[in-house]
């Protein structure tokens, strides 16, 4: 049954006009990386790709996760079609797990494409042979799982949670890693960045660094961040499954 829920949600999410929109985003990633490469010609290829990876690719992954997370549930609740799902003889856990998995796969797809677009723009063909490719993809996957878990939980608890998710993805994740003190422990991006193999060169605080949030070179050790990330993923996903089974999600008429 989970397989059926997964495949139908996947087909819903990959509707043509959505695909075009996300391909446009990937194209923009390519353009921005190209401009970046031209502007920061002085940095070596690997370093500027590292910057672009953190600044652009991880952000696009966060954006994709936020948007697709709302389509897991809150869009159904808002359009009141949720009533057809919750009155089916399907345990709510399976329903939620299938839909979250589909959202994660689609977000990962977008992230994967933008990773390749950025890599190709910055390093040209050399990108495919770069050693850290597999680790980058793995970090991407875990990042998507963590973000999806967190944003779906937000959509379960807050109505119209897309705006708050986007604020988190762009506001919180940009400033918190830069803050002095230990605030950076509370942001997913820190762990993603420290898990990624690119060494962050402690260059002078140029405007580019502020945007990429690479100001504070403090980072967590790679091993620890992998552990924390996997804990986050497992924790958030089980929380979502339990929460959806526990509480009521029936559409409210305005009359009642």
């Amino acid at each position: 049954m989970t397989r059926f829920v997964f495949s139908t949600t996947l087909r819903d999410l990959l509707r043509p006009q959505r695909l075009i929109a996300w391909l446009a985003v990937v194209g923009m990633v390519f353009v921005i990386s190209k401009v970046w490469a031209v502007l920061a010609a002085d940095l070596t290829g690997a370093d500027s790709f590292g910057r672009v990876y953190q600044a652009v690719v991880l952000r696009v992954v966060a954006l994709a996760s936020a948007v697709f997370a709302t389509m897991v549930l809150s869009q159904e609740v808002e359009q009141q079609t949720i009533v057809y799902l919750i009155t089916r003889p399907v345990p709510r856990r399976t329903l939620m797990f299938g839909r979250m998995l589909a959202a994660a796969v689609v977000s990962f797809g977008v992230g994967f494409l933008s990773l390749f677009a950025a890599g190709f723009a910055v390093l040209g063909l050399g990108f495919f042979s770069s050693p850290s490719l597999i680790v980058d993809v793995l970090v991407l996957a875990v990042g998507v799982m963590a973000y999806i878990g967190f944003f779906v939980f937000l959509s379960l608890t807050i109505s119209r949670s897309l705006i708050i998710s986007l604020l988190f993805a762009f506001g919180w994740e940009t400033f918190v890693p830069n803050m002095p003190g230990d605030m950076f422990y509370v942001s997913i991006l820190t762990y993603l960045r420290s898990a990624a193999p690119e060494a962050v060169m402690a260059a002078g605080p140029s405007l580019g660094d502020v945007i990429t949030g690479a100001l504070a070179p403090k980072s967590v050790s790679a091993g620890l961040s992998w552990v924390i990330l996997s804990l986050l993923v497992v924790g958030l996903w089980t929380l979502c499954l339990w929460w959806f089974s526990r509480f009521e999600y029936s559409p409210r008429e305005e009359g009642e």
Partner: protein, 305 residues
């Protein structure tokens, strides 16, 4: 089949349902009430979308909240009008039947059957976006009966259907009820409900006002004694005779001097008297009916208190 034991449910300080205790068995039962009287809340409690704040709801003896065992045997046709617009009618019903746990072929067969029953087989391939209100309603009914449930909860089932569609679907409901299933219809169109069933549950401002057979309920409304209108060519003479019967309360001559309206508390005795009057006394009675012996008047009498 369905047992509600002093069930109440609030949304913040808005009253949903207040301390309702009733039992619903097989056959067609009409759930009546004004807008916002608590009908939809009751429906959602029975279909397990909401938890009661106090009391308990038992369907087949189980708690229906998010309970797949109960949903296997419940069909629910909601009153909302929204659909996954990008799907076609056939796809939507097929997907719903797959979610009921049927395999590919079984689901296909069942969804075709359901679509055929509601008479949409020729138009089911168009995308749901372009459907008229009647077609959307038929698809909703199809998804409710696709897994052959034992309990069928229908919120405004005939809304938007044309007279032909209404008549067809009432026959379908009668067929299901005859097979011993329990069909609960919530509707505002009382003269249609009257054709479907005599047993009703009346909810008013969240409270249970009446439940049971509509005839017995009518008899119990003593505030409004039975009104019986008799068409006759000599109303005043008939009135004179009737007034001396003990159980006749009042008699009113119709404006057109050809009809007489009588109020009585014991309709049975009154009706038995009529043959004697018309034959022995020679007063011609050409018409006899009880204007408030229909669901609408019963509803009005109960609610207006």
């Amino acid at each position: 089949m369905i047992v509600l034991d002093s069930v109440s449910r609030w949304y913040g300080q808005v009253i949903g349902v207040n301390d309702i205790t009733c039992e619903i068995g097989p056959g067609v039962t009409a759930l009546l009430g004004q807008n916002g009287a608590g009908k939809s809340t009751l429906m959602r409690l029975v279909t397990g979308q909401l938890r009661p704040t106090t009391g308990s709801v038992k369907v087949f003896g189980l708690d229906p909240f998010a309970n797949p065992e109960v949903y296997k045997r419940i069909g629910y046709c909601p009153d909302i009008d929204s659909f996954p617009e990008h799907l076609s009618g056939r796809e939507f019903v097929y997907r719903m039947s797959r979610l009921c746990g049927y395999q590919e072929s079984e689901a296909k067969k069942r969804s075709e059957e359901a679509i055929d029953v509601v008479g949409m087989s020729d138009r089911a391939d168009k995308s749901l976006k372009g459907y008229s209100k009647g077609m959307r309603q038929r698809i909703k009914l199809a998804q409710a009966i696709v897994h052959d449930p034992d309990i069928l909860l229908l919120d405004e089932p005939l809304n938007g259907l044309d007279p032909v569609g209404r008549r067809q679907f009432m026959d379908v409901l009668a067929g299901l009820a005859a097979k011993g299933k329990s069909v609960i219809v919530s509707s505002h169109v009382l003269f249609e409900v009257e054709k479907m069933t005599r047993s009703l549950i009346l909810v008013h401002r969240g409270r249970l006002l009446a439940s049971g057979d509509f005839g017995t309920i009518r008899a119990l409304i003593d505030r409004h004694p039975h009104r019986i209108r008799i068409e006759t060519d000599s109303p005043r003479l008939l009135a004179a005779h009737l007034m001396c019967l003990p159980f006749v309360l009042s008699a009113q001559i119709g404006l057109n001097e050809a009809s007489l309206e009588v109020q009585t508390r014991e309709p049975d005795k009154f009706y038995d008297e009529l043959p004697r009057l018309t034959l022995d006394e020679g007063i011609a009675i050409t018409g006899l009916e009880s204007p408030d012996n229909n669901l609408e008047s019963v509803f009005q009498y109960l609610v207006e208190r």
